[in-house]
């Protein structure tokens, strides 16, 4: 049985990934966020590293994906956490505990385009 993680999974037609858009696809039981930003493809796990919210519900800010749940920002090409938004809507609110605020980086996947089809490899 082939190892699905090393297999190049055809995801969609290239024309379905218009510039500055993203979509969630599921490979086996893994939700993957794929998209195109400024002409460049990206693929990452759809789960926000902070508290596992769906990144597909977020939006772009430059090369970052902004999580809709707590506003954390991750670079979609490097995977790095770029901004830990504060929950404080007012100055009188007390900041959250650093342990709660902690987050890892995005899990990135390999993505490529060939003959009008986009492929993702989970590894």
């Amino acid at each position: 049985m082939k190892d699905s993680k090393m297999y190049r999974h055809p995801i969609c037609k290239s024309t379905e990934l218009v510039d500055d858009t993203m979509k969630k696809v599921t490979i086996d039981t893994v939700d993957v966020l794929v998209g195109r930003r400024n002409g460049k493809l990206f693929a990452c796990n759809n789960s926000c590293p902070h508290k596992a919210a769906s990144l597909s519900k977020g939006h772009f800010n430059g090369d970052n994906i902004v999580c809709y749940m707590h506003g954390y920002e991750y670079n979609i090409f490097t995977g790095k956490l770029e901004k830990m938004s504060s929950w404080k809507k007012e100055d009188t609110w007390v900041e959250q505990d650093p342990e709660w605020r902690k987050s890892g980086d995005l899990v990135l996947y390999s993505i490529s385009e060939e003959n009008g089809t986009v492929y993702v490899t989970l590894k």
Binding site: D31, A52, A53, M69, W87, E90, D97, W100
Partner: protein, 194 residues
């Protein structure tokens, strides 16, 4: 069958066949119930600081939300164990992984609107959090979906109350008959284990 030998659990088998990532689901649920449990704690503090004439007016509403959020923890935790998950052994780790920020008492708590804004923020995060579980389970895991959507209904009502208090926008419904009524997650709603 010997002790510790777990047979094939058909209730999990069907989820996997439906494409549910059970590990991810357990993670989301643990974060959700973590948020409910910490909310119960922090709403206690917020309620204590609803003082004066203005505070007295909303104290009971805060209590309604507080007890119902605790009931949400009670409603979903059994399902977590059914799925093969468990609560973290350490309560500190449980709180740190909660899916929503802690509803800390604001520095200017004597302004009742300040407390209301913190309460509102907490409910809104809870709606998003249980919405994630609903999205993941709809059409695939009816048991978890049923519990999560019941919780989400009450969170939507909580949000509506606090919005009504802050902005006068009608919530659309009347007060609870008693604190902890939980019309959707309590025994009246059909979750008989509460």
């Amino acid at each position: 069958m010997t002790k510790g030998e777990v047979p094939n659990i058909v209730a999990l088998e069907v989820l996997k066949k439906n494409g549910v990532n059970v590990d991810k689901l357990k993670e989301l649920i643990t974060k959700g119930v973590g948020a409910e449990f910490t909310t119960y704690y922090y709403y206690t503090i917020l309620r204590m600081h609803c003082t004066g004439l203005e505070g007295e007016g909303i104290k009971e509403i805060v209590e309604d939300a507080r007890i119902e959020d605790r009931n949400h923890f009670e409603a979903m935790v059994p399902r977590l164990y059914e799925l093969g998950g468990s609560l973290p052994r350490d309560i500190r780790k449980f709180a740190d992984q909660a899916g929503c920020p802690d509803a800390y008492l604001p520095d200017n708590w004597e302004d009742i609107n300040s407390i209301l804004k913190v309460l509102l923020e907490a409910e809104q995060c809870a709606i998003r959090s249980w919405g994630e579980v609903c999205d993941m389970t709809t059409g695939k895991d009816p048991r978890t979906y049923d519990i999560a959507q019941r919780i989400m209904q009450e969170e939507v009502e909580h949000e509506a109350w606090f919005i009504e208090l802050l902005s006068k926008r009608p919530s659309g419904h009347f007060r609870r008959k008693f604190a902890g009524q939980s019309p959707h997650t309590g025994s009246q709603g059909g979750l008989i284990h509460l």
